[in-house]
Amino acid sequence: MALDGNMKEKGGLSIGNLIPWIAVAALLAVAPYIVNAALVSFLFFFLMWVALSQSFNLFTGLTGYVNFGFVVFYGLGGYGMTLSLLRLNLPIYLALLVGGLIAAAFAMVVSLPVLRLRGAYFAIAMLSLAQAVFVIFDNWNFVNSATGYTIPVQYYNPQLQYYAMLVIAAATCLAVYLVMHSKLGLALRAIKQNEEAAVSLGVNSTLYKSITLAISGFFAGLAGGAAIWAITIIDPPSAFDTTVTLTVISMTMLGGFGTLLGPIIGSAILYSVEYYLGLTYPYLHLIIFGAIIIGTVLAMPHGIMGVLREYFLKGRVARATEEEIKVKE
């Protein structure tokens, strides 16, 4: 497929490719010293959505398996962080790490049975799994059941939280990049295009898929932990809210599945929409998200990145043809 071929082409980790990324990261790093608190909070949640949609993209974008239960990683990360902070008195960074690891471990364990399923069956199994985890947490005294927890005020530190989320978002983007350009990414691309053929050529598809799901879970868990640290409240309905899954799907879909930039672009656009509409018209953003998903499926299934790439490819083909004509003349 032309779209995948092009992605590999610009793979080199050259200085020229890195400059825009470094510039953006530097800009985000100094942001807390320049802009006001409200904007820092906006950027914090933007980074959270980048991390979440990027880790969703890592699995669904690269394998083509739709993870409708994605929010479970976010919630488990949040609970893992909260419990190890409050019960084990771990330092916050360690607590965040525990959250990510719990989500990754959960992904690894469920992937054994679930990844035997394909297509819609996989999607539904993940959705039902997330719902089951929600119901269990809602009734489980060990995690304070429906009441949940409040993170004590002494842990609250907007600046530290912002930098933690920045690091997590950057690490997630880096992970997606590394996976895409590794042997794992190659195997995933083969699985996405034709799983039977890949398996018959000796690709251990279950192993690769479960590793990828675990990586996706790890980063989503980290982001979930950092988010709960800032939100300071965690209870089952908010930690396992399907809206999170829905939002990352919309963001990744709009930007473009299986691309590095897509989820970032999607997060920037849709989080801004949600932020500005949510204040005046609650729930209106849901209607817009739904319309965007439908519109993207029908009009540009490869998202904004797909449209851009097609445009630039066309330009390049046109230029190449022009040159060819000149040479002939």
Partner: protein, 287 residues
């Protein structure tokens, strides 16, 4: 010790709820079977039916049973419109696309209902009393729901076995290519199937108003329950949907003796999970 009376009461209630579950899943089942499209928005169409009945009751005092006359044609119209404008365009492309499309549709409908009517729980206060027989007590509301389920199932059975288009739908479920070879127009069949599927979904929405309160966010849960039933009963098997529904209904109802009622919803998901892993073609399905 749990008394026999309590168990039989729970089994009967579960059976009746289960019949309604079965009909809830019927629409999803035939759409999936015929079109290979998993309609994630199924439960949201049920909610459209519920809200229509709710407002018909609040604004005009119309009983939800009467408002079936409203929700069935509304559902059929919505279904055919959705098929022609959206679903038709992704039919035949990757499964991923139809999953995302109907997911987007679900978000859109859920968002619209939330935006228009807020997340408040809505209920119609109609209580029709209890029937007592041999020490068992059966709420008339549930009885009506299960009778409605039986009527729909029988009606569909007659449609599927006696009419041309019904047979055409079954033919497409069995073997699409062969059905096309003998001159069945598959897009007409898809249009009809989607229309009927959504009409059943909307009508179940009216009946649900007899039993419980709803809110715009109930939709996805209903979709999930329908999936459980479709997977239990087997894909493209309308009779299987009823069996799956009854099975789930009875298990949920009887398990309420042993576990906290709040955990009951998880039972369905756990059953679904186990069935998907052990026997993905469903209990009655054969593939």
């Amino acid at each position: 010790m749990v008394s026999t009376l309590l168990v039989s009461q729970l089994v009967i209630l579960g059976l009746m709820y289960g019949l309604l579950y079965g009909v809830l899943a019927l629409g999803l089942n035939i759409v999936w079977g015929v079109m290979r499209v998993v309609n994630i928005a199924h439960g949201d169409f049920v909610m459209v039916g519920s809200y229509t009945s709710y407002w018909a009751f609040v604004l005009a005092g119309i009983n939800p049973i009467i408002s079936l006359l409203l929700t069935i044609p509304l559902g059929f119209a919505l279904g055919t419109a959705t098929y022609l404008s959206l679903v038709k365009r992704v039919q035949g492309s990757e499964e991923l696309m139809s999953l995302f499309l109907t997911f987007g549709l679900s978000t859109l409908i859920g968002g619209l209902l939330l935006f228009l009517y807020s997340p408040t729980q809505r209920a119609i206060p109609i209580y029709l009393g209890n029937l007592a027989y041999l020490g068992l007590s059966i709420p008339v509301n549930i009885l009506i729901a299960s009778v409605y389920a039986i009527i729909v199932a029988l009606g569909l059975r007659i449609f599927f076995t006696r009419t041309f288009w019904g047979k055409a739908i079954r033919a497409v479920i069995d073997d699409k290519i062969s059905a096309m070879l003998v001159g069945i127009n598959p897009s007409m069949v898809s249009l009809l199937t989607f229309g009927i599927g959504i009409a059943i979904a909307c009508s179940v929405g009216s009946i649900i108003m007899l039993l419980e309160s709803v809110s715009p966010v109930s939709g996805p849960d209903l979709t999930l329950i329908s999936f459980v039933i479709v997977v239990l009963g087997g894909l493209g098997n309308p009779a299987g949907a009823l069996v799956g529904g009854v099975l789930l209904g009875v298990v949920e109802s009887v398990s309420s003796i042993a576990v906290n009622a709040a955990v009951t919803p998880a039972i369905g998901f756990i059953i679904l999970f186990i069935v998907l892993i052990v026997r993905p073609q469903g209990i009655m399905g054969s593939r």
